[in-house]
């Protein structure tokens, strides 16, 4: 499955990047491809582009704050969790997201 994700937390110092790493590791382990955009203290990094969205099956938001450019994702299958969920157990986040939309 092709997944795109956005991670963001209020301080943007630590959890944004921990969640990114968690999702990347989980996707690899579960056999999916993922691109994770971070919206943290360094602004928007690894930005998800229209080209990425064309092939995306699923969008995951691991966020505790309002994200920038959210309208990019409208009409897509979005699964949103608090940023801590992706730090604690990113495998479960991905599995639950897939379960929700693909059964």
């Amino acid at each position: 499955m092709n997944i795109v994700a956005v991670t963001a937390c209020p301080a943007g110092v630590a959890h944004t990047y921990m969640a990114k790493k968690g999702l990347e590791k989980a996707a690899k382990k579960l056999g999916h491809t993922i691109k994770v955009e971070t919206q943290g203290s360094m602004g928007l990094e690894n930005e998800i582009k229209p080209k990425d969205l064309e092939t995306a099956d699923l969008v995951i938001f691991a966020v505790d704050t309002k994200i920038e450019k959210a309208d990019r994702f409208k009409n897509l299958k979005i699964y949103e969790v608090p940023v801590a969920a992706a730090v604690k157990n990113a495998d479960k986040v991905i599995e639950d997201a897939i379960k929700k939309y693909f059964g």
């Binding site: 110092v13 630590a14 203290s41 801590a84």
Partner: protein, 154 residues
């Protein structure tokens, strides 16, 4: 400021005694104030407490990363405390914490190299092998080495 100044041996402490999360945060604030890293101990302490109240920074595996970005931080800083006895932190895995990695970031530091290094360190904390090394380390030098090695990793 050199990249290495983000953490110095003096910012690492072993055998820290504290019985509550609040006590640990107070020690962090006092330590960073004395080290000249924050200009206002109380403001930094309050910011750490507020951040914890929003959501716990105890991400599991016995480690917490309390942090605050406020104006009263003089220099971007990483400080590591190894606690003598584990302290309850409402962690994501419900386990108490015995390593505290405190971060202090000046609010105007947005987008700097130091923030990139903190991001790198945060990512590395998701690696069990790295966490294991921090737990096993029994000298300040070891902790210093492990953390600064992360900065140089591609």
């Amino acid at each position: 400021m050199e990249l290495g100044d983000l953490i110095t041996i003096d910012l690492i402490e072993f055998n820290v005694f504290a019985s509550t999360k609040e006590e640990v945060l107070r020690k962090v604030a006092t330590h960073l104030y004395k080290a000249g890293r924050v200009s206002d101990e109380e403001a930094y302490f309050q910011a750490l407490v507020n951040r914890e109240n929003a959501t716990t920074t105890g991400f599991g595996k016995g480690i917490a990363i309390p942090h605050a970005n406020i104006e009263e931080v003089t220099l971007p800083t990483i400080s590591v405390l190894k606690l003598n006895t584990p302290v309850e932190w409402d962690s994501l895995d419900d386990k108490p914490v015995n390593i505290v990695i405190a971060l202090a970031v000046p609010s105007k530091a947005k987008g700097t190299i130091h923030l990139q290094l903190l991001a790198k360190l945060s990512e590395e904390l998701m690696e069990d092998e790295f966490v294991e090394k921090l737990h096993k380390a029994n000298s300040k030098d070891e902790i210093y080495q492990y953390i600064t090695n992360v900065f140089h990793k591609e």
